[in-house]
Structure formats: C-alpha cells, structure tokens
C-alpha cells in the first residue's frame, strides 16, 4: 500500500500543538506504518516537498516569511488542516493586532531597561501588520480549534483521513 505523505508546519505558535501531536504516544507507530512524515519540525527536510497529501499547520500567519510559506504549502498539499487556535483564530499572537508594528517593536526592543535600541534587523522576517488565521490568506480544508487540540482529536482526524473518511470535527473540539 502506498503510504500517505503527511507534513506538519510550525508558523507563529508555541509548538504546543506539535507537543499534543506527539502525545498520541504509541499511536505514532501505527501512524508511521500508514504515513510518511515528509516535512516539519520533527523531521530533517529543508524544503517543503511537492505532492503532500495532508499538512497540519500550527500557528498564525504573522510575518512575511509565514505568508510566503503558507502560500507555497497550499500549492503543494491536497488537504490543509489549521491545527489549533493560533492557526484557526490568531489566538495569542493576534493579541498584538491592535498595536501598530512600529510601536510594538519600539516597546519591546527600544524601551528595555538599558533604553538602547536593540532591535534585530538582519535575517529576521518582517512582521505583517497583524497576526491572522490561515484562512485569511489561503483555503483551509479542516479547522481543528483548541489550545492545544487534544491528542485524541488530532489522532482521530489523521485516522479519518488515512481511512478515506471525511473528518467530523463539529462539536468534538472547542476554542481554548
């Protein structure tokens, strides 16, 4: 049987959703028999590959780099899953959204105890004006809210997908 190509992505989130994914414990062995994890923080691939069957995305779209990545990922994946509240609602990263980015950076990097401007400029992606849910930028096939979603909900979702069923998320998950 051909294995399903599964990817995971970590945008502006805390990695808690990936921790919840790892919390499926021994379930990951059964998963590994049916799916290859082809990209994500848990594996070594540098470039998001072509022809991915399902991608679980954690985190909000907060920077230009996040935006470039999610657009490339959308073009290369068949089913895109917004995993967790940051990807679904913006959640904690979006708490900065009522503050202009310049003011935010000034407050964080310029008004520290030394009063010296320590803002990094090289090699860091530009922040977008607001941190937003994935579906503000790309089509999302399945939304799984939760902070984080339970490992049970994640496993059920992946198993549904592997066995060709349409995932029933509905009232099994909640925000927060």
């Amino acid at each position: 049987m051909k294995k399903v190509r599964l990817a995971t992505v970590w945008l502006d989130g805390c990695s808690g959703c990936h921790m919840s994914l790892l919390d499926i414990d021994a379930g990951i062995l059964a998963l590994a028999q049916q799916a290859d994890i082809v990209y994500g923080p848990l594996v070594d691939a540098q470039e998001f590959p072509e022809n991915v069957d399902i991608t679980l995305v954690e985190g909000a779209v907060s920077s230009q780099d996040d935006l470039n990545r999610i657009q490339k990922i959308r073009g290369r994946t068949r089913v895109l899953v917004a995993l967790g509240d940051c990807a679904v609602t913006g959640n904690v990263p979006a708490m900065r959204n009522s503050i202009p980015v310049s003011r935010l950076l000034q407050r964080v990097y310029g008004e520290g105890p030394t009063g010296k401007l320590t803002m990094p400029t090289d090699g860091v992606p530009q922040l977008l004006p607001q941190a937003c849910p994935l579906h503000d930028y790309v089509h999302v096939d399945v939304h799984v809210p939760g902070c984080p979603p339970s490992s049970k909900a994640i496993l059920a979702l992946v198993q549904d997908f592997l066995s060709g069923r349409k995932p029933e998320i509905g009232s099994t998950v909640k925000f927060g």
């Binding site: 679904v88 913006g90 979006a94 937003c132 849910p133 939304h143 809210p145 998950v173 927060g176």
Partner: protein, 237 residues
C-alpha cells in the same frame, strides 16, 4: 381571572401554554431545548443575543423565543438547518467583535459563549476579526471588568437593577461603540452605587466580569444561584 390556556405545537408536539408566557418559557416547561446566551431565568428578557430565534407559523421572520409571547394555535420550530446557520452566524459575530482569546481567559472551560460555539459546531469564524483596542477596568477592590470579553448581553445590568436594586451598570453608545459602564461612566472602583455584592460577576456568561486573583480557567460562575435568588425575590411576578 386565571390566565387562558393555549394549545401550541413545538416541533410538532402538542404543548399547553398559558397566555403571557413566552415561547421560550413554554418550550422549557415542555422540556424542549432552545439555546440562549443573554436570557437568564428570573431576570427580564431582552432578546439581545439572537441565539433563541425560532420559526413560527404565519411569518417568515425569525422570532426571539425569549421575548415573543405565545399565541393560541401557533406552531413553533426550534431547530432546522436555517436556524442552526443563523445561530452559528450570531456566535461568530460575537467572536469577531471583541478579543475572545479563550486560551488565556479566566473563564476558559466555564464560558457560555465558548460552550455555545462548541455545541453549534463553530470550528472557525468566517468573518474578519475586529481586534479592537479595549481597556480592562481593575479599579474595583474585588472584581475586574474586561471589555475584551464582553458580549453586551446585559445580564449584569439586569441582575444589578432588578435583584440587587443598585442599577450600577448601563450600556452607553450604540452599535460597535456600545460599552458597559458603571454609574455615570466612572471607573467601577469609583462607582458609589455599587454594593460590591458580586451578582453581576456571577451572572456574566463570559470572562468579562470576574473576581480578582483568578487565573486562566479559574473563574467558575454560579448563574444557578443568581436565578434562584431572582425567582425567590419574585422579580418577575
């Protein structure tokens, strides 16, 4: 003169109701579930949240069950794909209007808005978030008002006016600018009419009103106590 007894149908089932009862009261008395957020048993009904909308024979308009009186012979539908869709829209619009960050909210896990979203199967919001910049009033000795979580249901306004008799709370401005205010738009800590009884906190369905010192997930409300108290005092005779 005793109230007239009406015969109505709720989801096809024949139910007895009394004149002057609302559709919601008649439905609950018959054991039927209609979702509500701004309604609180024992307080006056205002029809603010639109979660309790139902379909009734003779009109295409959807009617709020909490403020619509029963009429003899009426036939009411409490659930349908159309109603479910409008209820989801109502919840989604509440979620986009302010900053409902469930994961860091004192009421996470005990919030009626969060539970309503879950029970209606709202897994995401289809409208752009508003991300308003809103203050948190920490001036009261024991309680906190977080405008980010307020859904303007006015349960606090009504419990304070109708049960405590203090009428500290009111809504000022209109539409998207509407805000909960204490006394004459003073900080809560400066509101001299407040008796610090805490009924508003217990009646609040979200984390907008909370006890100080509560951390994430720690604020459990006792709405049942408030309703019991309101009923005992015969607020709605």
């Amino acid at each position: 003169m005793p109230a007239k007894v009406f015969s109505i149908r709720i989801d096809g089932e024949l139910v007895k109701a009394t004149e002057g009862q609302t559709i919601l009261e008649a439905a609950r008395a018959a054991g039927k579930y209609i979702p509500t957020l701004c309604y609180m048993e024992g307080l006056s009904a205002v029809g603010a949240c639109r979660l309790c909308i139902v379909q009734a024979s003779g009109t295409d308009r959807l009617l709020p069950a909490c403020t619509t009186p029963v009429q003899d012979g009426m036939s009411v539908t409490t659930n349908s794909p159309r109603l479910a869709e409008y209820r989801r829209i109502a919840v989604e619009l509440l979620l986009v209007e302010r900053n409902h960050i469930c994961s860091v909210c004192v009421s996470n896990g005990h919030c009626e808005l969060q539970a309503m979203a879950q029970s209606l199967g709202v897994t995401h919001v289809r409208y752009p978030y508003n991300y308003p910049s809103l203050p948190v009033d920490m001036s009261h000795e024991r309680f906190v008002l977080d405008h980010n979580r307020c859904i303007l249901c006015t349960r606090c306004v009504r419990v304070c006016a109708e049960v405590e008799g203090a009428h500290v709370w009111e809504i000022t401005s209109r539409g998207i600018q509407a805000r909960l205010v204490s006394d004459l738009n003073q900080a809560w800590g400066d509101a001299r009419s407040c008796t610090s009884c805490g009924k508003c906190v217990q009646a609040c369905p979200t984390g907008a009103l909370a006890e100080k010192g509560r951390s994430v997930e720690e604020m459990e409300k006792r709405c049942d106590h408030i309703s019991a108290l309101a009923m005992r005092r015969g607020v709605l005779a």
